[in-house]
């Protein structure tokens, strides 16, 4: 079983995901350069954080046209687990694999630090191993993480239980104070209707070792790996 870590020009979290795969989880992984066109041999995909193409114009806007993205769309359609974190989430939205868009933080400033997110749905391969409403301590690092969706889209997200994470207080309350970027209804992460594509602003790879302050992100990796192992070859 092998995890593909996408690499766009300007991506920077790929090394951290590779580190977690290799040194923490001991799973097989490989980088996938954006100019490639095939994902053969990969069982799950990670779109890491960074500033693909400088995030010029809009975050993820140029990256979504990378040659590899056709293969990513196919991989997702076929049910392969795909996790986009931070810039990866933005790319998935721009590519239409996830609904909505990510806009500039209300503070107009970049924000890096620890936040808490509450698990809103266990019905995804990534969150299956978590407990209902489990609160995760996890870092964010972004300037444009304010989730936005039109009212119809939001209604659909709710109806389909596609909201996966919300920013919360450490004890799991959804408050304005706990919202670091002004995201609509504190949304920190969502999945697609088929539930195999997850996008979230926080960085699970930075919450995978006790020495760095939290291991709460590991569950997402484990869920993804389990789901990949269970897929027909």
């Amino acid at each position: 079983m092998k995890c593909g870590i996408l690499l766009f020009p300007g991506t920077w979290s790929h090394q951290d995901f590779a580190h977690v795969c290799q040194d923490v989880l001991g799973c097989d992984w490989g980088y996938v350069w954006h100019k490639e066109t095939s994902l053969r041999g990969y069982d799950c995909l990670i779109l890491p954080g960074g500033f693909a193409h400088g995030d010029y114009l809009r975050c993820g806007a140029i990256a979504r046209f990378s040659p590899i993205m056709d293969a990513v769309v196919r991989f997702a359609r076929e049910g392969g687990p795909v996790m986009g974190s931070c810039n990866g989430f933005q790319i998935l939205c721009e590519a239409g694999l996830l609904p909505g868009a990510l806009l500039r933080n209300t503070s107009l400033q970049y924000r890096c630090g620890w936040v808490h997110i509450r698990t809103e749905s266990l019905e995804t391969p990534f969150t299956r191993g978590l407990t209902p409403a489990q609160v995760l301590k996890i870092p964010i690092s972004h300037g444009e993480g304010r989730y936005h969706a039109a009212p119809e889209t939001l209604a659909r997200l709710k109806a389909n239980d596609q909201i996966v994470f919300r920013y919360a207080t450490p004890d799991g309350r959804i408050t304005e104070q706990a919202n670091p970027n002004g995201a609509l209804e504190n949304i920190a992460g969502i999945c697609n209707e088929a539930r195999n594509v997850l996008g979230l602003m926080p960085h699970p790879e930075r919450a995978a070792e006790a020495i760095l302050g939290s291991e709460d992100g590991l569950g997402l990796f484990r869920g993804m790996l389990d789901a990949s192992a269970a897929r027909p070859a």
């Binding site: 806007a61 939205c93 868009a101 806009l103 500039r104 039109a150 002004g182």
Partner: protein, 84 residues
């Protein structure tokens, strides 16, 4: 040679914190008549294309595909002739 002047603006329903901040910045400088401020993008493209019909179709496609995000933005553009 043609030049495309493209305006990309946030849809009215989308919050514009930058515009709000500029408005309050202006107010604190004493410009209290400003009731609203919205900030968008202004792009100028020079095209090696002389046929305005073809150019129009191209620019429209660029906007739809890349330059604007229909989930949050609207766009308009105009073409004009410029010296090569």
């Amino acid at each position: 040679m043609l030049e495309a002047r493209i305006h990309v603006t946030l849809k009215p329903s989308v919050l514009d914190p930058q515009g709000d901040t500029v408005r309050s910045g202006l107010a604190s400088l004493g410009f209290t008549t400003v009731e609203d401020c919205r900030i968008g993008k202004f792009m100028v493209l020079r095209l090696a294309e002389s046929d305005p019909v073809r150019a129009r179709a191209q620019v429209d496609e660029m906007c739809r595909k890349l330059l604007a995000n229909p989930v949050i933005e609207d766009y308009v553009f105009e073409l004009r002739e410029v010296a090569g």
